[in-house]
Each structure stands twice: as structure tokens, then as C-alpha cells.
């Protein structure tokens, strides 16, 4: 191999392998969960999976951290939500069974900044739940927030 040949290889390497990242960003906005409206949702089958994936992990609403005093892991979430006062908004209730419009939880996961009274949307610094997922939670509340 001649010196010129080596030089060509160097040029080819430099041009062809300009450093680059070989994967795209982005992710599933539904986080692998069903992106559908469930007509008659239950906590166990339809709502808790959303809470597990989007809320009840380390640093947030886990048993250890329980931000805003709220633990949303399976077995504890219903008691933590239904009829409990909203710590961020005095006079409001996190989940009013049978009345989704008065439930602070839905305001906190919704896109209406004014309804949240300036607080950051949940999940914090993360992609919002899809409209279908939020509607599933709304129906669960409207139907009395049943466990099963």
C-alpha cells in the first residue's frame, strides 16, 4: 500500500465516519399502556397501571418518597386519593367519588394551567398522560372510583 493509498483511507474515514449518533430520540407517549378510553374502568385493571407507570416510581409518589404526601402504589392509591384533601389547594379534594369535575387529581394531570392554579402539570417534567388515558381516569372517578 502506498503513502497515497493511506492518505485516501484517512480522508475516507474522516469524511465517512464524521462522528454521529446512530439512534433517534423519541418514545411512546402512551408509555406502553393502552391508549384507549375504557368505558367502565376499575382501579385494578385500568387506572392503577397508569399510576404505576407514570406516578408511583422512585423519587415521586412511591412509598419512600411520597411527594406531596401522596403514595400511589398498588394497594395504597385508592385510600390516598378518594376523599383526601389536596395538599396544594386548600378546600379541594384529590378524588371526589362520582364527581370528576371537582376532583383535583384531574386538574393536576390536565393541560389547563389556570385550573392547576399555577402548579406544574403532573407527571412532573414528563410527557402528559394521553387524552384517552385522562378520560379513562375521569370515567373511573365519575363512576364512583371503584376498586374492582
Amino acid at each position: 500500500m502506498t503513502r497515497r493509498g493511506v492518505a485516501w483511507i484517512v480522508v475516507a474515514l474522516s469524511a465517512g465516519v464524521a462522528a454521529c449518533v446512530d439512534f433517534s430520540g423519541g418514545f411512546d407517549p402512551a408509555f406502553g399502556l393502552p391508549d384507549v378510553i375504557v368505558e367502565t374502568p376499575t382501579l385494578t385493571h385500568d387506572v392503577q397501571p397508569l399510576l404505576d407507570r407514570r406516578c408511583a416510581f422512585g423519587g415521586c409518589h412511591s412509598v419512600a418518597t411520597h411527594q406531596a404526601g401522596l403514595t400511589l402504589v398498588a394497594g395504597m392509591s385508592r385510600a390516598a386519593l378518594v376523599g383526601r384533601p389536596a395538599r396544594l389547594s386548600s378546600g379541594d379534594t384529590l378524588v371526589v367519588a362520582g364527581d370528576s369535575a371537582r376532583s383535583w387529581l384531574l386538574r393536576m394531570i390536565g393541560n389547563d394551567d389556570a385550573a392547576r392554579q399555577g402548579f406544574s402539570r403532573m407527571p412532573l417534567a414528563a410527557t402528559p398522560l394521553t387524552a384517552n388515558q385522562r378520560e379513562t381516569i375521569a370515567r373511573w372517578i365519575a363512576q364512583g372510583a371503584p376498586q374492582e
Binding site: L13, F23, G26, A125
Partner: protein, 317 residues
Amino acid sequence: MIGGGVLALLLRCRRGGAIRFPARLIVAIAVLSAVVPSPTAAQEAGTRVHQVHSASEPEGRLLAYYSAAMVFTPVGSLSPGSRWIVGVEGTWIPPLNEAQRRPGIDKPETTNLAPILPRPRVALHTRVADVEVSWVPPITVADARANLVAFAVGRPFAEWRGTALAGRLSVVSGRVEGAITCNAGTAARGGSTLATYYAAVCHGHDSEDWFEPRLAAGEVVARHRVGGRTGSVARGQAWLALGARVDRSRFDIGVIRNDGSRDPDHPVLQLRATRPHGAAGVGWRVSRLLTASLEGFYAPGSVATLRLFGALAGAGR
């Protein structure tokens, strides 16, 4: 994809035959892999959630990206006829855009801490095999503090018209520390939501995250000598390496609580993947003692990058 041309180049390499290594070398590599400390596992086994991710998941892709950039490739180490070499390589780590820095969540992680991975390297030709060792001491480069070790052994098994085929095994381990999950600078530029995240989830402190590459790789290397008679020192070399790596790299999320301790409520992410990679490059003897090399490295699905290597080389086998 810009790296596609290089992949095509790499794919032209002829496959080598079976690699024959002395059992002692294989045992040495296995022992080295086992003894490199993994403090996280030792101190906190059983107390942390360990999430295993494949390379197709967002978290796994990010782990695989950084570990791929650290693969201990030949990068023009021992040129034909050289007995030893001492030098420093530099690997360009391309910055990730905001979407690529979101491993499954919407919050961009502060991963673009250091644009270059510098790595000292010593190689020695012995009668049994070529041995390469590297250690990146715990110094801070940009905003990352690395402490990495790497080890490789290679042994030629065939030669034809100035081209030698060799089998090569390598391992990489250690730790890179940085404020990736919680970073005051990122929070300050990210608006009120990230500021709230920094205050609430990060407890108002920069995180002390640990990225721990744990790689074992095997390659077949075709090395062609340029100039000089067989047995003497070559004027230069060109090489092509194809291989695969087993990747068990980990990311220990180090959110710091107000008492200074690590918050155990955050998981340790672990990659479980076996992935192919390839490298091609040229090296040239600039003077009697000095060599310079350039290598293109491609790990499909992770990174295509360049490595530069400057070294002192000792002649005479």
C-alpha cells in the same frame, strides 16, 4: 446515516477462522472482569430496585451509546514489528440532541458532559500474545469524572501477503461520575417545570450519577503492514476489525438527599445486550519513535465516531 458507508467498508472484511487462545489468557480476562470493583452492587445489593433494559428500550439505547464509545478497539496499537507502545487515544463523543437525551421521559438528561474520552494506553508484544492495558485515572474532564480500566489480548493466527489475522479479546470496566439526572444548569435553562423537578425530586442538589461500563468484546482483526520487510518495523499499517461485545453496563441514579446520602428510592438501570461493532483505521510511523493513527469506529444502533491515537513505539521483535 453517515456511518453507513463505513459499515459497508467493514462488511467487506473477510471473516477469520477460529481463534485459539491459551487457556491462561482466557482465565486472566475472566478474572479481571470479575475483580474490577463494582461498589454499587457490593454496598447496596438488595436495597435498590435494579431495572434491566434491552438495547431497544430508550434507557438501554442511552446506556449502549455511552458504553459503545468506550469499547477498547485496536486503534493502531502495536504496529507490525513493534515491541511496545505507549500513547494516548482520544475518542470523540458526539453530543446527543434533546430528544435522544430523553430515556423514556420528557425531561432531558444532562448527558453531554464531556465531548472527548482521552485514554492512555500501553501495549506490549510478547511471545504469547499482544497485551494492551489502559487506565483513565480519576480526573475530571469537562463535567465528568472517569475512572476506567481496559485490558486486551490479541494473538495472530494467520498471515498472508503482509496481512495478519488476529483474534482479540478486551474488557472495559470502571465508572464515570457526573450530574446527569439532576443538574442545576439544565434546570435553570428548562423553565419552571424543571426548576420544580430540581427542587422537589432532586432535593435541590446536583445528582452524583454513576455510569459503570461493563464490556467484554471479541474481535477478528485484519492488519496489513505498509512498508518495511517482514520482521522489521513497518512504516505504517491499516487494519479492519469486526466483532461483538457483551454489554452489562449500569447507570446508578445518584439523587442526593439533604443529609448528603444517596436516595435509595431511585433505581439502578442495567443494560443487557450483545451487539456487533467494527473498526477500521490507518497508522503511520511519523518518526523513528512516534506513531499516529486514526480509526473509524461504528457500533450499529449506537454511535459512529473517530479515534485518534498518538504514541511512542519501541522497535525490534
